[in-house]
Structure formats: C-alpha cells, structure tokens
C-alpha cells in the first residue's frame, strides 16, 4: 500500500500519456463521462460512482473494422493502448462475463484480447452511490477487489494506492519516487468511506426490494411462461439502450461495406431487444414479440451465464435503469420473478 497525492496522480498520468491514451471521468451535468486526459484539464475525479458509459467500450469497441479484403492481419493495431482511470468495481466485474464470452470458447477474440493485455486499468473505490446502484445484491462490493492494475482509494489530499497485477506492480515500482507511505489515519479513512458507501447501497437494495443472488437461482426458467414479461414490456420502445449501456452485454453484428475500393468488415454492438436480432433468412423470427426479446435479455443474464460460466451477467451498476426511456427497472423485474408475479 502506498500514498499518492492529487498532484502526483496528475504527474503519473502525465507520464502515462506518452504510451497510453489516458481517459478520466469528468462530470458533465448528465453523469460522469470519460474524456481524454490533458494537462490543462481542470477538474476530474476518479472517485464518485461508475461513469455513464460502460467500461467495455475500451475493450470491445462499439464499432470497429475487423477485416479488410482478404488480409489476415488484424486492422487498427497501430493505435495506442488505453489507460482508463476511475473504473469502478461493478464494471470490473463485467470482465468475468466478457472474458468468458470472448476469450474462453473455442475461438478467442483477438481484438478484445489485445485490449485486455495492453490496456491499463487504474480503478477507484466508489465514494458515494447513485440511488440506482445495487452492486452488492449481485455480490459486488463498491470497491475493486480484482481485475485492476492499480486501485485508488480516495483519502484526504490524495489516494491510497495498491497494485492488482504484475503490470500495476511494475508501474508502481517505476513510480516509487512519487509515492509516499500511508498512515493509520488514511487506512481508517478508507475503511470509513467504504462502509459508508456500502450502507448507501444496502439501503437502496432494501428500498427497491431487489432479490439476492441466491433467490434468483432458476427464477427465469420457473417464470418462463409468466405474464410478467408482457407486462414489463408494455412500455418498452425497443431502443436497445439497456443492452448497449450494460457492462456485460457483448452481442455484436458483422456487416460489410466498400471503402475506397476495399472491402471492409465492421463489427458493431448489437442489441437482443431489436426485432431483427434472431430473425433468420426469409423472415422467420423465433422472438417476434417484444416481450419475448425482453425475456431473452433476462434469460441470457440470469439463466445462460449462470449455467455456462457460473456468473450472473448483471453487476448491479444500474445503468439500464437510468438509461431506459420506458423506466423499466431491472430490480423490479427481478423482484417480480422471485415473488411469482
């Protein structure tokens, strides 16, 4: 454990900009957005809560060229890797799902893999909670415990810093000149903040009635033919925001185009709420009704992933609650599944 002052963090990021595109969270009125770090950026705060955009965005790009003509090389490999500052525990939990989906099968996604290997994650404890946060119901604590290179715990004047990977250790070693020794007060402060945030999240969980992980076991399958789906889907406008904003949704679509005489194959995020998602040639659709597609989203998250990877594909970040124009609340849906209606 080390101590790093605010100014020294800037110094560290300054240094990192030579080998990384560094992104930091900045409040812009509608939430925290990741913006490129520059030395004249006046204010950023690695703490607070999760950013508006999911962390996956730096690892599985929303839109990227994956093949050109008949080249076997991976396109776009000349880009600098990314250093994300202020990633939160819920987003880091998302890697459990993404890694399984994109690295653990018969094939590896070389683009995602490269980003996982090369990008640098400087995560941070949450210093508060939104009223949509329910991470702890999904078994995630509001401070990172794994999947980071370096974690920051905000304390008076700066941060307590610890490494979570070989890459993080090496970076801290190389930065030893700017690191200080933490004292007892700082450790106590970190503990207090962590407890306070946990209490906020716990209060949210109790108020919203979101069930715990144990009671969710088998719930989707048990309630497969329930009225809940059609009822919840009544207001859905099929925008797909819930998917794109989710730190675990990884489904994508390939499409081809011609660009300056070259064939280009692009990969873009897809959304299982959209009507064409499962449509097959000729127009047959296994999920023609919106409620079937809403149900499919829950099936994938709370039935498929527990079965194949022993993990719920929900980290309790609450983004889909904030992002849904129809105000469909995943906590309520889960509550209804468990209470049979």
């Amino acid at each position: 454990m080390h101590y790093l002052s605010h100014d020294r963090l800037r110094q560290l990021l300054e240094k990192l900009t030579s080998s990384y595109s560094v992104f930091v969270p900045v409040e812009d009125g509608s939430g925290l957005q990741y913006v490129p770090y520059t030395s004249d950026l006046e204010h950023f705060d690695p703490g607070q809560v999760r950013a508006f955009e999911p962390l996956k965005l730096f690892f599985q790009r929303a839109r990227e060229v994956v093949a050109q003509d008949y080249d076997t090389d991976l396109p776009g490999q000349d880009k600098k890797p990314v250093c994300v500052v202020g990633a939160k525990a819920c987003d880091l939990k998302g890697f459990k799902v993404l890694d399984h989906a994109l690295l653990k099968g018969e094939y590896e996604d070389p683009f995602y893999k490269r980003n996982r290997e090369r990008n640098l994650i400087i995560s941070c404890d949450c210093t508060t909670a939104l009223d949509t946060c329910f991470c702890m119901a999904m078994g995630v604590k509001p401070f990172p415990e794994e999947a980071f290179d370096i974690n920051l715990s905000p304390v008076e004047g700066g941060y307590l810093v610890e490494a979570g990977s070989k890459k993080g250790e090496a970076l801290l070693e190389a930065s030893s000149g700017i690191l200080g020794e933490p004292d007892q007060d700082m450790m106590a402060e970190r503990g207090r903040t962590r407890n306070q945030v946990a209490e906020l999240v716990q209060a949210n969980i109790e108020e919203s009635g979101v069930p715990d992980r144990k009671s969710l076991e088998g719930a989707v399958r048990r309630m497969y033919d329930s009225e809940v789906w059609a009822d919840e889907a009544r207001t859905c406008v099929e925008c797909g925001a819930c998917n794109t904003i989710c730190p675990t949704c990884h489904c994508f679509l390939l499409y081809d185009q011609k660009n300056e005489g070259k064939m280009e194959r692009l990969r873009i995020w897809d959304s299982c709420l959209l009507k064409g998602f499962a449509r097959v040639g000729g127009g047959d659709n296994p999920r023609p009704e919106l409620w079937m597609r809403l149900r499919n989203r829950f099936e994938k998250k709370f039935d498929f992933f527990p079965e194949v990877a022993n993990v719920y594909a929900c980290t309790g970040c609450g983004r889909c609650i904030t992002g849904c124009p129809a105000k469909i609340d995943i906590r309520e849906v889960l509550g209804r599944l468990v209470s049979n209606g």
Binding site: V66, T72, G105, G281
Partner: protein, 274 residues
C-alpha cells in the same frame, strides 16, 4: 501482429459454375485459393464482397476439398446476390465452423436420413459420407420431401441414387403434378411403414423447422431414442465463432456447439423449433 489469426478474414474464392437447380435454388461451385476442408454437417460463411455474408453447409464431397459446392435458396439480401453470381466472380469463404455428424459412430447401425426442402443440400454431403462407409452400415435409408416436383434439387444425381441397391430411398412431394410418379404428402407420411430396429437406429434430420419438428415427433413415436436423432439447427448467425450471441439455444451456441445436435441435448429448452 501478423501471426495472430484473424477469425474474420476470408479465403478468396472464384465461382466456377452456377447450376440452376430450381427457380429459387442454385448450386454454386467455388474454387478457394486455399483449400477449406470440412466434415459433413459443418458449415462455412460465404461472403459476397461488400454485400455481406451468410452461413451455408457445403453440399459437395468432403473428400474433394479443391472445390466446394453450396446449394443456396434465395430468401433475402445476401442470397439474392449469390444468385446473381456468374463464373469468374470473386467471393470470400471463412470456416469451416461447427461440429459434424459423428458418422464413424454409425457403423453397424441402421441409418435413416430425412431431408426436406433446402435441407437436401447439407444432406447431400452427409450422404457422400455415408456412401463411403455404407458397407459397414446395417442399413441406409433416405426419405426426402419438398413442396412440389419443381422444387426438387439434384434431380439427375438423385435418380442415380434410386439405382443403388445399398440405399433404400423414397421421395415425396406435398403436391404432385403430371410428371410425378412417387408418393404425395408431407415427409412424415413416408416415415409411417419403416421396418427398423428403432431402439438402436440413428436418424439424421435436416430441413425447415416445421418439418424437423414433425419428423422428430414422428420418429419418437416410432420408438427412436431421443439421443439417436440428429438435428441440424438453423439460427441467425453472425460471427460463427461463438461470440456474437445471435444463435443461442438454451445454454448452447448453435454455431460452435452445433449446428448438429442430438434431440436429447436440446429438447428440454423452450421454443427450439421457432
């Protein structure tokens, strides 16, 4: 990173020949720059440059990978453009993907192949595989059906299959015409009077979902074991490498865990036929 293989890159291929099997089904013969060896049941992704790609099961002989046939029904965007291809045109292939039929396990057993509609295409590759080991099979039966005689593919070749004494073959059409001398009725009607050792016999079924559903139910009723019914499932596919999430069936991805499934594997999951 030149040595990291790109799962999305394709093998350049030339169109050698286009056979118009029926007004809506064409067989395209392709010559890939580099051979794409496959086993019966596996599929490839075929790209029309700049238009898009779609999955198809090669319908040619798996032991002759220098060229590759795909038999394609015209149903939409990509298949429309495939039907416009002419000899000399360039297309892309990636694959093969998915699992294959465990043909070796079928030795000493009675094998029934049921194909419907465009399901004839993948079944041709399977039949080539089965013909190669036919002397070690206890029996080989083929039951095929399509809507009407004009939708029948591989006519010439099929007529030679009728001459084989190692194959028991019956074809039916939903609606006959003056040229049709075989039975009429949906394919399940020609499954009625089979004499097989149902408990140990193996069935391979491929065709439109509705045909697969009713054939499977019929076979079960006849006494086939649900683990001896092999189905080739069609789902929406994009990546074909088990990542894009489109082709899920229960806990499986059709592209990597399938497309060939034993009925026993998938029967417990809802809406598999939809």
């Amino acid at each position: 990173m030149g040595n990291t293989t790109n799962p999305y890159s394709m093998v350049r291929s030339r169109v050698l020949k286009v056979v118009k099997e029926t007004p809506t089904i064409y067989t395209i013969r392709l010559k890939p720059d580099r051979e794409v060896p496959f086993d019966p049941g596996q599929f490839i992704q075929l790209t029309v440059p700049g238009v898009g790609e779609a999955p198809f099961t090669p319908s040619s002989h798996y032991r002759k990978p220098e060229t590759l046939d795909v038999t394609v029904a015209r149903v939409g965007k990509v298949t429309d453009r495939i039907h416009q291809l002419s000899p000399g045109d360039e297309v892309g292939i990636r694959g093969p993907y998915g699992n294959n039929y465990p043909l070796e396990d079928f030795r000493d057993r009675e094998v029934l192949v049921v194909g419907g509609g465009v399901g004839f295409a993948p079944m041709r590759a399977v039949m080539y595989g089965l013909f190669d080991i036919v002397s070690s099979l206890a029996k080989l039966l083929y039951r095929g059906g399509c809507r009407n005689p004009s939708e029948l593919v591989y006519r010439e070749e099929m007529s030679r299959w009728f001459d084989r004494d190692d194959l028991n073959i019956v074809l039916t059409v939903d609606e006959g015409d003056e040229t049709w001398r075989g039975p009429t009725g949906v394919v399940t009607t020609i499954l009625e009077d089979l004499s097989l050792d149902f408990e140990s016999a193996v069935a391979i079924v491929c065709g439109p979902p509705i045909m697969m559903k009713f054939s499977t139910l019929k076979l079960l009723e006849m006494g086939f074991s649900d683990s001896n019914i092999f189905l080739s499932m069609e789902k929406n596919m994009s990546c074909a490498i088990g990542q894009c999430g489109h082709c899920r069936i229960g806990p499986y991805y059709c592209c990597t865990d399938g497309p060939v499934f034993r009925y026993s594997q998938i029967k417990q999951y809802p809406n598999i036929w939809d």
